[in-house]
C-alpha cells in the first residue's frame, strides 16, 4: 500500500486483482445493477489510489478499502445517483454476469435462486444504511464484527446489534417468501 501511495500503478493493479470481486459484490448488493455496481467499483478503486497516502499501516487494508467503499456507496445512493433496480442481466461477452449457484442447475432451482435473490435484495433495501453495510460485510464478505466496527467507526456491541437486527429481518422476509412460494405448491401436490 505504501508503494501505491507513492504512485506505483503495478502495486495498485495487484491490489485491484486481489480485492475487486469483493468490492464489486459489495457495491452490487447496494444498487442491484451490474453496470452501476461496476461504476461504483471503478470510483472506489480510483479513490483508494488517490487517497492511498491516508492509509495507516496500523489498520488492515481490507478495513480501509471497505471504509472507502461503504462511504462512497452510501453517499452515491443518498445523492440519488443510483436508483435501485431488481433486474438480473443476461450474460453477454464482456458484460457482467450473475454467476449461478451450484445448487441452481435445474430450471426450477434457477428460478427459485433468482426469487430468493430478489427477496433478499428487497429485504436489504428496507434495512437502515448501517444495517445494510454491516449485514453485507458480515454475510457476504465474511468479515468479523471487530473489522466491521472499524469500517463503521462503531463499537463491536453496536455492530452485533446491527447484524442481528438485519439478519433477523432478512430471515423473516425469506421465511415469508418461502411460505408464499412453497406453501401453495405443497398443497397442490
Amino acid at each position: 500500500m505504501l508503494r501505491v501511495a507513492a504512485g506505483d500503478t503495478a502495486a495498485f493493479a495487484s491490489l485491484y486483482d486481489r480485492y475487486h470481486r469483493s468490492v464489486a459484490r459489495f457495491a452490487h448488493r447496494f444498487v442491484q445493477d451490474a453496470g452501476k455496481a461496476e461504476e461504483l467499483t471503478q470510483d472506489i478503486f480510483v479513490k483508494v489510489f488517490r487517497h492511498a497516502g491516508r492509509y495507516r499501516a496500523t489498520a488492515r487494508f481490507k478495513t480501509f478499502l471497505f471504509r472507502v467503499a461503504a462511504n462512497h456507496c452510501l453517499n452515491e445512493v443518498r445523492r440519488g445517483e443510483y436508483r435501485v433496480t431488481h433486474v438480473v442481466e443476461e450474460g453477454e461477452e464482456g458484460r457482467p454476469v450473475e454467476m449461478p449457484a451450484p445448487e441452481a442447475q435445474s430450471p426450477e432451482r434457477a428460478v427459485e435462486g433468482r426469487e430468493l435473490e430478489a427477496t433478499v435484495a428487497a429485504a436489504l433495501q428496507r434495512l437502515s444504511e448501517r444495517e445494510r453495510v454491516a449485514f453485507t460485510l458480515c454475510r457476504f464478505e465474511g468479515m468479523a464484527y471487530r473489522e466491521i466496527a472499524e469500517v463503521l467507526s462503531a463499537s463491536e456491541a453496536a455492530v452485533k446489534s446491527l447484524i442481528h437486527r438485519a439478519t433477523l429481518s432478512v430471515a423473516r422476509a425469506v421465511e415469508a417468501w418461502q411460505a408464499g412460494a412453497r406453501g401453495p405448491a405443497r398443497s397442490e401436490a
Partner: protein, 158 residues
C-alpha cells in the same frame, strides 16, 4: 415473544461470543422454545445466503480502472523518482556538459575579442605617432619599441 437472550443468537451462530456467553446461550436454548425457533430460522437463512449467486464483474472493468488511474497526475514521490531515473539523468547530464563547454568556448572568444579591442584602442590613441613612423599595423610590443626609439637609438650607438 422476544426473549432477552434473542439478541445474542446471531452472534452465537457467527461464533462471535466468548466461550462463557456461548455456553450461556446453549444452555438457554434447551429451555426456550421461542429462541430455539428463531435460532433455527437464522441458521437456515445463513445457509441460504451462502448459496446465493455471487456478482462477477467484467474483465473490461480492470482496463477502465487502470486507464483512469494512469491518467491521474502523478504524486510528488513518483515524479521525483522519474526525474532521478538514469534514463532521465543521462540526457540531462549531457545537456549540462554541452552547455558548460559552450560557455567555456564563448568565454575564451570573448577574452580574445577584448584583447583585440584593447590593441585597436592603443593603435587609435597612438595613431599620429604610428603614422609618423609608418608603422600602422604593429602590435603593442612594437608600439613600445617605437615609443622608446630615441633611447634605443642612443643605447645602440657605438
Amino acid at each position: 415473544m422476544s426473549c432477552t437472550m434473542e439478541d445474542e443468537l446471531t452472534a452465537y451462530l457467527d461464533g462471535e461470543l466468548s466461550a462463557v456467553d456461548a455456553a450461556r446461550v446453549r444452555s438457554h436454548l434447551t429451555s426456550c422454545s421461542d429462541c430455539r425457533s428463531t435460532e433455527a430460522l437464522l441458521r437456515r437463512t445463513m445457509t441460504q445466503l451462502v448459496a446465493l449467486p455471487a456478482f462477477e464483474p467484467s474483465s473490461a472493468l480492470r482496463r477502465r480502472v487502470l486507464a483512469e488511474v494512469e491518467a491521474l497526475p502523478r504524486p510528488w514521490p513518483e515524479r521525483m523518482r522519474a526525474w532521478l531515473r538514469p534514463s532521465a539523468l543521462a540526457p540531462a547530464g549531457l545537456v549540462f556538459v554541452t552547455a558548460a563547454l559552450v560557455a567555456v568556448v564563448i568565454g575564451q572568444r570573448s577574452l580574445s575579442a577584448r584583447a583585440e579591442r584593447r590593441t585597436e584602442l592603443a593603435v587609435a590613441e597612438n595613431y599620429e605617432l604610428l603614422s609618423d613612423y609608418e608603422v600602422v599595423g604593429l602590435d603593442p610590443d612594437d608600439l613600445e619599441v617605437v615609443e622608446h626609439l630615441d633611447q634605443l637609438e642612443k643605447e645602440g650607438r657605438p
